[in-house]
C-alpha cells in the first residue's frame, strides 16, 4: 500500500482510539448499578451466585487478553440483551469479565 492511501486508513483510527480510551474512564454517577441489566441478579438462584463467586468471576478481567468474550464457555448476548452468559452458571456475564476457569475457544 502507498503511504498516501494508508493515511486515509490510519487517521480514522485516532477518534476510535480516543473512544476506547474514554470508555475506560470511571462511569458517571448517573449510571447507577440498579438500572444496569448486566447487574440484575433478581432472577438468579443462590446456588448460581455461589458458583459465580467460587469461580472467582469479576466484571473486568485482570488479564486484558483473557476475557469472557473469548472464553470457550462464553454465551454471547441474545438478541436485544446487553450482556452475555456463562455455561457454568446462570446470570448476566460481561464480555470483559473473567473467572479463573477461563479457557481459549476451540473449533
Amino acid at each position: 500500500m502507498k503511504r498516501r492511501e494508508f493515511i486515509t486508513i490510519a487517521l480514522p483510527i485516532l477518534p476510535t482510539t480516543a473512544f476506547l480510551v474514554s470508555s475506560c474512564q470511571p462511569k458517571s454517577a448517573s449510571q447507577s448499578e440498579t438500572t444496569d441489566p448486566c447487574k440484575d441478579f433478581s432472577t438468579v438462584s443462590e446456588n448460581d451466585l455461589k458458583t459465580r463467586k467460587k469461580l472467582g468471576y469479576v466484571d473486568a478481567s485482570p488479564r486484558a487478553e483473557s476475557q469472557c468474550g473469548n472464553c470457550n464457555l462464553w454465551l454471547p448476548p441474545k438478541d436485544g440483551k446487553a450482556c452475555g452468559g456463562c455455561m457454568l452458571f446462570k446470570g448476566p456475564v460481561q464480555t470483559a469479565g473473567y473467572c479463573t476457569y477461563w479457557a481459549p475457544q476451540s473449533k
Binding site: 487517521l11 485516532l14 458458583t51 488479564r63 487478553e65 455455561m87 476457569y101 475457544q105 476451540s106
Partner: protein, 644 residues
C-alpha cells in the same frame, strides 16, 4: 486407544470397578504396570509412596540433597471447619537404597501451599495469599521460624494462585501468579508501597529488597532452561513464553495490549492419551457441545486427546538420561494421565522459541498410563540427574463447581487423598548415586568450581550459596572462570555471581558483550543499561546476528532517551517490523514511542511502501499518542502523516 492397549486397560482395571462409572485405585507397584514409556532405554520405578508421602504436588532438593515435598490434601476445597491440611515433608532414604523409607513433617497447617524453594537454610513457600519463609533452627527438621515475606496475592482458587517459585540464573526469584489481581506488600519493608500484580506474574530479590510484576501469566508449571528462559503452563496451553520482561513491558501505561504470553507449541492442541475420558467429562462435554450447537456457535469442546490439564513443566538440565533428552521440557497432563515432552528451540528470526515433539513421540507421548488415577501434577530433577514424577494420585482432578450437580452425585473429590506417590525415571543401565551433595560443608572455592558442573541443579545451587555467603574472597576465581571457561553456561553463572556480589566492572561487561554465546551477550546488555558510556555498544548490538541479542538491545536502549536512541530504534524497527515482539518492545519505551522515531522513519522512507506490519505499528503508535494525551500530539501525528 488401539485395540491391544484397550485390552491391557481392561485387564488392569476391569475387575475393580467400584461403581458403574469409575475405577478403583492401584497400589504403586501395580500402577507401574499401567505405564508405557516411549523410549525402551528408560524405566520407571517407585521412589516414594504412602504413608511417606500424601497428596504431593511438588518436590525440590535443597543444597544438601534433602527432598522436600509439598502436600495439598485440601484440594479442591479447604475444609469448612477452618482446619488446614497443607504440609511440607522431608523425605528420607535412611539406608540409601534409592527408595524413601521415612518422612518428617517440616511444616503443617498450611493454607494450600503449592511450591517451595530452598533459601538461606530454610524454605520459601508459596501459600496464597502469602509467600512465607520457614526455617528449622533447632535441628529437628521442623520449621520453628515462620515469616510472612510477601502478602496480598489472590487466594480464591487453588489452581490459579501464587506458585512455581524458581531461583533463576539472573539472581531473581520468579513465581507464577496467573495474572490474578492482588496488591502485594513486602513485609520486611512495610514502608514500601504495595505493588499491583494484576495481569502478570511476580519476581523478587531478597538480597536487594526488590519485587515487581513480571510479564507472564503462568498457572501451575514453570520451567527454566540453562540460560534462564522461562516457559510456563496454563491448563490447555501447555508451553508458553513471554519475550518481553515486565520492567520493559510496563515502562509506560499506554500500550494497546500488555499481553505477551505466546503459545510456542507447534503441535497444539493434540495429545495422545491411553485412558478414556471419565464419565462425567464425556457427559459434560456432550451437553456443552449441544449447547454450542443450539446457540449456533462455531465452537467445540473435546473430552479427550486435547490438552486441558497441563500442569508442572520441568526443564531437564541433568545428564543422567540419554543425551537426546538434555534440554527437553517435560509437562504433566493430569486430565490425560500422561507426561508430554517438548524440544524447545530458539527461532532463527524472532526472539522467541518453538516447542516441538520428539521423533519418537509424533503419535504418542513420552509416558502414558492406562490408570485414570495417575495425576502427574509436577516433575523434578534431582542432583543425580533422575527425572522424578510427582503423582498426586486422585480419582478426580477438576473444579467441582464446574461439574453439573447430577454428575457430581457419585463423585468423591477427595478420594485418593492418602494415596500420593513419586516415581523416578532412569536409564535401564544407570548406576545411580544416592550420596547426598552436602554443599553447605563445601568450601567457597569448591562451590566456584561447581559453577561449571554439567548439571543445572549443581550450578544453580552453587551460585545461590556463594551469594548467600557474600564471600568476596572468591572474586578472583569467579572472574577467572568467567573470562576463561570453555562452557558458556559456566561463564553465565560466573557472570551472575559477580553481579550478585556487586563486582561487575565496565571491562567485564564489555567482555560479556563480545561473548560468543548469544544469551550471555543479551544478559550483558541488561547490565550495560547501568553504564551510559556503553550506549554506543548498546546501539551496535541492535544489529547483532542473534535476534535474542538485537531484540534485547532494543529493549535496553529504551532505558535511555538521547536522540541517538530513537535513531537506532527506528533502524531496528525498519529491519524487524515484521516481528510483533520488536514492534511491541520498541513501542514500550519513551524513545520508541517518540516523535523523533517517527520523523526518522519518515525521513528514511519507511512509510513510502506500506505493508500490514507497518500499519500495525502505526496503529499502535497512534494508540499510545492518544492514550497518553499530551498536548498537541494527536494533531502533530495527523500533520506528520499528511505531509508528503
Amino acid at each position: 486407544m488401539n485395540a491391544s492397549k484397550n485390552l491391557l486397560f481392561f485387564a488392569l482395571v476391569g475387575l475393580s470397578w467400584s461403581c458403574a462409572h469409575y475405577t478403583d485405585p492401584l497400589t504403586p507397584d501395580e500402577a507401574l504396570k499401567s505405564f508405557t514409556l516411549s523410549d525402551d532405554r528408560l524405566q520407571i520405578e517407585v521412589f516414594a509412596a504412602e504413608p511417606h508421602v500424601l497428596d504431593p504436588v511438588e518436590m525440590v532438593f535443597d543444597e544438601e540433597g534433602n527432598a522436600f515435598v509439598v502436600e495439598m490434601p485440601d484440594y479442591p476445597s479447604k475444609p469448612e471447619d477452618g482446619t488446614l491440611g497443607g504440609a511440607i515433608r522431608l523425605l528420607r532414604d535412611t539406608n540409601q537404597d534409592g527408595r524413601i523409607d521415612s518422612a518428617i513433617v517440616f511444616a503443617d497447617n498450611l493454607s494450600e501451599a503449592t511450591s517451595v524453594l530452598p533459601w538461606e537454610g530454610g524454605l520459601l513457600v508459596a501459600a496464597a495469599p502469602d509467600i512465607l519463609f520457614l526455617k528449622d533452627t533447632t535441628g529437628d527438621y521442623r520449621a520453628d521460624i515462620r515469616e510472612v515475606l510477601f502478602t496480598g496475592f489472590f487466594a480464591n482458587n487453588s489452581e490459579a494462585q501464587i506458585t512455581n517459585l524458581h531461583y533463576n540464573v539472573d539472581n531473581w526469584i520468579y513465581a507464577s501468579n496467573c495474572g490474578q489481581d492482588g496488591l502485594v506488600k513486602f513485609m520486611r519493608n512495610p514502608k514500601l508501597p504495595p505493588i499491583s500484580v494484576k495481569g502478570g506474574d511476580f519476581r523478587f530479590r531478597l538480597d536487594r529488597g526488590q519485587f515487581e510484576i513480571e510479564s507472564s501469566t503462568g498457572q501451575f508449571g514453570m520451567s527454566v532452561d540453562d540460560w534462564g528462559n522461562r516457559f510456563f503452563t496454563e491448563n490447555s496451553l501447555h508451553i508458553q513464553h513471554a519475550p518481553i520482561a515486565g520492567r520493559y513491558l510496563f515502562r509506560h501505561p499506554f500500550l494497546p495490549s500488555y499481553d505477551v504470553a505466546l503459545n510456542i507449541s507447534d503441535h497444539d492442541p493434540e495429545m495422545f492419551q491411553e485412558t478414556p475420558a471419565p464419565y462425567w467429562r464425556q457427559e459434560r462435554t456432550k451437553r456443552r457441545n449441544e449447547q454450542f450447537a443450539e446457540a449456533k456457535l462455531d465452537r467445540h469442546e473435546y473430552a479427550e486427546d486435547h490438552f486441558t490439564g497441563a500442569s508442572g513443566g520441568t526443564f531437564y538440565g541433568g545428564n543422567l538420561l540419554p543425551a537426546d533428552y538434555r534440554g527437553s521440557v517435560f509437562t504433566g497432563e493430569v486430565a490425560g494421565n500422561l507426561i508430554h515432552r517438548d524440544i524447545v528451540q530458539p527461532l532463527p528470526n524472532s526472539p522467541t522459541f518453538v516447542a516441538k515433539r520428539g521423533e519418537k513421540e509424533k503419535t504418542t507421548e513420552f509416558l502414558t498410563s492406562s490408570d485414570p488415577w495417575f495425576r502427574p501434577a509436577q516433575l523434578s530433577v534431582g542432583p543425580n540427574g533422575v527425572l522424578y514424577v510427582i503423582d498426586m494420585y486422585r480419582q478426580h482432578i477438576e473444579t467441582p463447581t464446574a461439574i453439573p450437580e447430577d454428575l457430581k452425585e457419585e463423585m468423591d473429590f477427595f478420594n485418593g487423598n492418602k494415596l500420593g506417590r513419586i516415581y523416578q525415571i532412569v536409564p535401564k543401565e544407570a548406576k545411580l548415586t544416592h550420596e547426598a551433595p552436602k554443599l553447605r560443608s563445601k568450601s567457597s572455592a569448591e562451590l566456584v568450581a561447581l559453577l561449571a558442573h554439567p548439571q543445572q541443579w549443581w550450578r544453580l545451587n552453587a551460585q545461590r550459596l556463594l551469594l548467600e555467603r557474600k564471600d568476596k574472597s572468591v572474586l578472583p576465581a569467579v572472574t577467572d572462570l568467567f573470562l576463561t571457561h570453555a562452557d558458556a553456561r559456566a561463564r553465565l553463572h560466573a557472570f551472575f555471581v559477580l553481579e550478585g556480589l556487586n563486582a561487575l566492572t565496565l571491562s567485564l561487561i564489555k567482555k560479556a558483550l563480545a561473548d560468543a554465546q548469544p544469551d550471555l551477550r543479551a544478559y550483558s546488555l541488561i547490565e550495560a543499561e547501568k553504564w551510559s558510556e556503553l550506549l554506543p555498544q548498546l546501539i551496535e548490538k541492535t544489529t547483532d546476528v542473534s535476534p535474542k541479542v538485537s531484540f534485547q538491545a532494543c529493549l535496553s536502549l529504551g532505558q535511555f532517551t538521547s536522540p541517538s536512541v530513537s535513531n537506532a530504534l527506528a533502524k531496528a524497527l525498519s529491519q524487524h517490523v515484521q516481528d510483533k515482539w520488536y514492534r511491541m518492545g520498541i513501542l514500550s519505551s519513551e524513545a520508541g514511542a517518540s516523535f523523533t522515531l517517527i520523523e526518522v522513519l519518515q525521513r528514511e522512507g519507511f512509510f513510502d511502501r506500506m505493508i500490514p506490519d507497518k500499519e500495525s505499528f502505526l496503529n499502535d503508535f497512534a494508540h499510545v499518542v492518544r492514550a497518553r494525551n499530551r498536548s498537541g500530539e494527536v494533531q502533530r501525528l495527523a500533520l506528520l502523516l499528511k505531509k508528503k
